[in-house]
């Protein structure tokens, strides 16, 4: 088989671009887990709500796209903060599995709410970005944009965590939750802020994904499971690990889908995940 088959190369390139988006998704989830120690199983549903927000603001109320995007990021940030205050905070002292399950309940709830409010027909923002040719390969501009935004988002979060006071407080709480009140920091406020930041990252992700996919209430189920698996693969809470794992996962999906049918790409990726779990139960770079 011709190794430099152009379609294989295209699959690899698309895999890299997909990896960028998955890395962004994983970043938000890792941030929340690293700081608050809770997995938001409903993370993909937050993204779904963000996507609907962009659709309604841009296509129904005819706001300019940039404004719709900005609003979406703000909206999902607020949603993230609300999620923490209303749902997570009451169970922070309960068993970890209860925290996992309560976010699962929110998953159900948001999906059903979206069905109720928006109906089950597929909606699309209708923006067709071109695909440009690169030596026989077709690369979608939408995907490239998503990749670039994901990288920018990651750099932004990294700088925020390293260079700002608030970011340092967040990192400190992630290291030692108990001692923070003694240092004069209100952990509650940090948690709400982190949740808002995680929500904002989800909002950014929805802006990027809305350019590529149709919107419907169950769309969370298509990339939700993948996002957790990417996070767990890289080590829950470890952002560099999530980054690496995102690209590995995306390659499995993309190249696996190239050689076999689309579903087999996912099957391979998931089996790879299960395999790595047996080899390193805490994830590739985990160790908490």
């Amino acid at each position: 088989m011709h190794i430099f088959d152009i379609f294989l190369l295209e699959a690899i390139v698309n895999g890299i671009l997909l990896g960028g988006v998955l890395a962004l998704l994983a970043l938000g989830l890792n941030l929340i887990f690293g700081v608050i120690n809770v997995v938001w199983i409903c993370y993909a549903e937050l993204i779904m709500i963000g996507m609907y927000a962009v659709y309604y603001l841009h296509n129904v109320y005819h706001w300019p796209l940039a404004l719709a995007f900005a609003c979406c990021v703000l909206l999902v940030a607020v949603l993230g903060a609300l999620l923490h205050v209303l749902v997570i905070r009451p169970v922070l002292s309960a068993e970890p599995i209860n925290q996992l399950l309560v976010t699962g309940g929110v998953l159900f709830f948001l999906q059903a709410l979206a069905t109720l409010a928006f109906g089950i027909e597929f909606k699309n923002v209708g923006i067709r970005l071109p695909a440009f040719q690169l030596g026989g390969m077709y690369v979608s501009v939408a995907r490239l944009l998503a990749f670039a935004a994901a990288l920018a988002g990651m750099v932004g979060v990294y700088l925020f965590l390293r260079r700002t006071y608030l970011g340092t407080a967040i990192r400190a709480i992630a290291q030692d939750r108990g001692i923070m009140p003694l240092m004069g920091v209100n952990p509650n406020r940090i948690f709400v802020l982190t949740s808002a930041l995680g929500g904002a990252l989800a909002g950014l992700a929805s802006c990027l994904l809305v350019l590529q996919y149709d919107i419907h209430p169950a769309i969370g189920l298509t990339f939700g499971p993948i996002t957790f698996m990417v996070c767990v693969l890289g080590g829950l809470g470890n952002m560099v690990g999530g980054f690496i794992a995102a690209f590995i996962f995306a390659q499995f999906i993309s190249v696996g889908g190239y050689f076999l049918a689309l579903e087999w790409g996912y099957v391979l990726a998931f089996l790879f995940f299960i395999g790595v779990m047996f080899w390193r139960p805490r994830g590739i770079l985990g160790g908490k």
Partner: protein, 327 residues
């Protein structure tokens, strides 16, 4: 069993003979069938092994028998042991490494999550054989008669009711046996502090694996019966994370630490959906699941022991009030 329980059972067993309509009887059958499946999950769930992937075993049960019948004319009576063997194999393949390498809590839940999706994706990917997302119907053997023993098909709901009732009681019996076994005490200790338990000499892997196997086999049986009763299966309703989460929540809503809890959860879910459907009609898609989702969140925050669990606790507290006043 106490006389109250015998009475309750008698009422349940004789109710359909008193002339329930076909549809209420269908609901009752579903209550018991899903109650059985949820109970099977709870056997594992209450002992610290929360699996978000029981859809995998359900799907294996349903699809192995239907594929065997449709493609190989294999009677479901032979397909059943085959399905059980497949489910057992998967349970051991996933369970053994998980328990050996101490994958617990979040990580275990997510591995089982991945497993449910793998099964669903494989079913969909093999669409030429399985019909993919459109689902598949076992070839009917009921064209000439109302029942066919070889095909495990029967058009009489009454007969199915007694079959499912017997299976449900069997599930409760298994739950009881596990509850009273040393394994249950051991696993509760393991759930609290695995290393200490292992240091006392408990074979953690074997204990966890045995309970996982029981749970997987019961769920698989539920899948087989579901396929033969409904005579239609598709990957979304019997495998994947949707149904897996539904199992978890049904058991938790009813109370997974109590024997009848999961059945109460199943009844609750079904009746809520029906009540809302009757009240609001078919037009408002998704209102029942919205309310259900909301209640789930509220349950886990305020009533982690579930409806029946909380109810029994409240009842027990009232009975413990001292009757004699201090002298």
């Amino acid at each position: 069993m106490t006389s109250a329980r015998w009475l309750g059972l008698a009422v349940l067993a004789l109710a359909p003979l008193a002339g329930m309509g076909d549809y209420p009887l269908h609901l009752l059958i579903l209550c018991l069938l899903w109650g059985f499946v949820y109970t099977g999950w709870a056997i594992m769930g209450r002992l610290g092994m929360v699996s978000l992937g029981h859809g995998a075993f359900l799907g294996i049960g349903a699809y192995v028998v239907v594929m065997g019948w449709n493609h190989f004319h294999l009677s479901p009576w032979l397909g059943l042991p085959l399905a059980l063997a497949a489910a057992a194999l998967v349970a051991v393949l996933i369970g053994y490494p998980c328990f050996r390498f101490k994958i617990v809590g979040h990580y275990f839940a997510l591995v089982t999550f991945a497993l449910a999706e793998v099964v669903r994706l494989i079913i969909v990917a093999l669409r030429d054989t399985t019909g993919g997302s459109l689902g598949v119907t076992p070839q009917t053997a009921l064209a000439k008669s109302a029942w066919s023993l070889g095909a495990m098909q029967c058009s009489s709901k009454l007969v199915w009711f007694y079959i499912i009732l017997a299976v449900w009681l069997f599930g409760l019996w298994v739950w009881n046996r596990v509850d009273r076994s040393m394994a249950r005490l051991a696993l509760e200790a393991i759930a609290h502090e695995e290393d200490a338990a292992a240091s006392v000499g408990m074979n953690v892997t074997r204990l966890k694996l045995s309970v996982t196997l029981i749970s997987a086999l019961l769920t698989c049986l539920g899948g087989v019966l579901y396929a033969q009763y409904q005579l239609y299966v598709n990957p979304e309703t019997v495998s994947g994370i949707g149904i897996s989460l539904q199992i978890v929540y049904g058991a938790i809503a009813g109370g997974m630490f109590v024997r009848l809890g999961p059945t109460v959860g199943a009844a609750f879910t079904l009746l809520l959906a029906e009540a809302l459907r009757l009240w609001l009609g078919h037009d408002i898609h998704g209102l029942d699941t919205t309310i259900y989702g909301l209640m789930l969140v509220l349950f886990i925050i305020f009533m982690p022991k579930g409806i029946l669990g909380a109810g029994l606790e409240a009842y027990a507290k009232r009975r413990r009030v001292p009757r004699t006043a201090p002298a």
